[in-house]
């Protein structure tokens, strides 16, 4: 199988296809595709923290909630346009995430999990009880999205907004993981002490990855609010967290493709299983178990091993590097 050629064409055609799809879908399918793109953003964010950096942190769903609420409240109560509210949602989540990170940085594994979980519960509690700001359990309705007077309501116009944001954040994510910072994250995951000995500032790195991951979660939440038009505190609790974790684990930890694959599988599958209602929970649970039993590095991991997916090497321009090395080696050989 000439996988390299296939990869090349997929890389070239991916975005054009996504741009063209909204012309062929009905609103239901487009809504599901929008949700998939939103979960790609969320998944990338969680992958930074859980996959690359190996931090077992449970606050992602609550931070998504903060992003959703920030975006919704700025738009509905302060009449901000969405192109200001959305980045601010990311910033708000980033600030809260960094706050959570400060005590959490000292902790490992279960203690980290529990502290972040405790913060997540606290955030949810505030969303429900701080009625004067968040309107509590009544929920917040967003006004229609507008771009300089042109209404962007409806799943098809929203698709372009979401696609733009998701694509930008994906490319940003790629650059992050193939940078020194990205490699520092993996070093952190493997062995914190060795990383520190190699000169990586562990504290700073941890703080940055928490902040980055929270930013993505916030943007994901903001997009979620825009797509849904109405948010309530309920949707950002443990169930949502399990969805996030499932999607990165099934998709593949330590992999950008993994976030995309996981988002697709975990959003599309429940929709496809609509006819099997009472079995849904059982299928979902056992699928999760089976996937992990047989594919612990996720679908992306399997894909990379079999060659269906290109390798993800954490160095920029590794293809040129490889080419230069090969030509160098052949030159050496000829000498």
């Amino acid at each position: 199988m000439p996988w390299d050629t296939i990869h090349l064409w997929v890389r070239r055609l991916f975005i054009p296809i996504l741009l063209a799809i909204p012309f062929f879908t009905d609103r239901y399918v487009q809504y599901v595709l929008n949700l998939i793109m939103i979960y790609v953003v969320v998944g990338i964010g969680l992958n930074f923290l859980l996959g690359y950096a190996g931090q077992f942190a449970f606050a992602h769903a609550a931070l998504m909630g903060i992003g959703a609420y920030a975006c919704a409240l700025l738009m509905s109560r302060l009449a901000f346009p969405f192109w200001i509210a959305l980045p601010m949602a990311g910033v708000a989540a980033m600030l809260v995430g960094s706050l959570v990170a400060l005590p959490a940085m000292r902790m490992k594994r279960v203690y980290l999990a529990l502290v972040t979980l405790a913060f997540a519960e606290l955030i949810q509690w505030i969303l429900i009880h701080w009625k004067t700001v968040t309107l509590g359990t009544d929920g917040v309705s967003l006004p229609p999205t507008q771009l300089f007077g042109y209404k962007l309501t409806g799943d098809h116009p929203m698709a372009y907004v979401i696609l733009f944001v998701a694509a930008t954040l994906y490319v940003l994510g790629q650059r992050v993981v193939t940078s020194r910072f990205g490699r520092a994250l993996v070093a952190l995951r493997e062995n914190e002490i060795v990383a520190q000995c190699s000169g990586i500032n562990v504290t700073k790195t941890k703080l940055y990855v928490f902040a980055l991951s929270s930013f993505y979660a916030g943007i994901g939440g903001g997009l979620f609010a825009l797509a849904l038009g109405f948010i309530v505190p309920d949707g950002f609790g443990l169930f949502q967290l399990v969805v996030h974790f499932s999607l990165v684990v099934i998709g593949g930890l330590i992999s950008m493709y993994g976030s995309v694959i996981g988002a697709v599988v975990l959003t599309a599958l429940p929709e496809l299983l609509r006819d099997f209602q009472w079995l849904q929970e059982i299928i979902y649970g056992f699928t999760l178990v089976i996937f992990i039993l047989f594919m612990p590095d996720g679908i992306a991991g399997l894909g990379k091993r079999k060659g269906w997916l290109p390798r993800e090497i954490l160095v920029r321009n590794w293809r040129d590097l490889e080419q230069r090395q090969r030509s160098h080696a052949s030159q050496e050989g000829r000498k």
């Binding site: 009905d26 809504y31 009880h129 309705s141 849904l228 109405f230 929709e271 609509r274 849904q280």
Partner: protein, 391 residues
Amino acid sequence: MKSSINGIALGACLAVLALGTAQAEPGVTKDTIKLGMFGPLTGAVSIYGYPINNGAIAIYRAINDQGGIHGRKIEIVHEDGACDPAKTRAAVKKLVHRDEVFAIHGGSCSAAVVAAKPEFVENKVPMMVMAATLDAISDPPNRYVFTTTLPGSGDGVTMIKFAKTIPNAKRIAVIKHANEWAEAKAKAIYASYKEAGFELVADVVLESKANDATSQVLRLREAKPDVTMFLLYPGESAVFLRDAQKYGLGGQFLGTTAVMDLVDLAQRAGSEAAMKNVHVGAFLIGPIDSPEMKQYADIYAKYFPKDKLQSLSFYGMSGALTVIDALRRAGPNLTREKFVDALESTRDGNAGPGYCKVNFGPNKRQGCNTGTMWALRGGKIVNAGETFKSN
């Protein structure tokens, strides 16, 4: 040349055909009417989702067996919302854009229905709410959204009205969940208690799925209320009443329409003694084993013989009967707009097992606003009416 003219002709014919079929009303054919239905069919709330929707389905099947409406049988497309706003929105989108249903009868989770509301409104799909009680769904009135379920405010108003008739009752207390379902009822209470001459002496929160209400009951006990209104789900209501008995919280207890199954409540609370001073709101014409309810109980049992019969089984029936009545009055040339007009002109409609006459109007989309209070006496549920009588 020739081929391109043929192509144009073919294209024109297809366009005319397409236009022609596009103008036909979605969801209506010569012998079927496609009705969309959704509710919490999976997840923690599915315990309530199924009986409510099944009640409505039973009514529709009964009508089908009697020949349908103007020769058309009702076909139900049933989707799961899992009580999640995003998933419910997806379910409704599927019903509206994929299955192209004629109208929708569904929704028992308030927040999820509000999230999905823009779908009905923007696409002009008539929507009869199944059992969601949040007032914001049907008020301010929207042309396409109707409900025959007693809204949350109605529950609260019924409770205050009844409390007023309790002799020497001056101090009231509220125990509620911290969610929109309980808030809707609480808001009605907060809005009307002062006018009714009460003093609110305690307002406590019980989290859902709690197994112990000690701190809540002790706080209430300290405040010495004459009437405690418990805005709780069935399981937590049982826990509360049990602990109220245990710690000796006195006074009268008023519950919401969520706990109409008083025999179950007594069993879960552990004793009938716990039910001595309990009255609950009800919007059914009688207890489920009473003669008035028999015909509806039989209909449910006929189509869902293996289901347990409980008050939830009847929640959806008034909506179904109203839908059927309006479909009839809309006539054989059925369109969505005619259907909406027919619904709007419902006067003194038959609510089946519902305790009211269904009345809609040009600016009125809440069809039923009356409720009554039930109590448990001698192991049987009795309609205690709207005035308190000491036993």
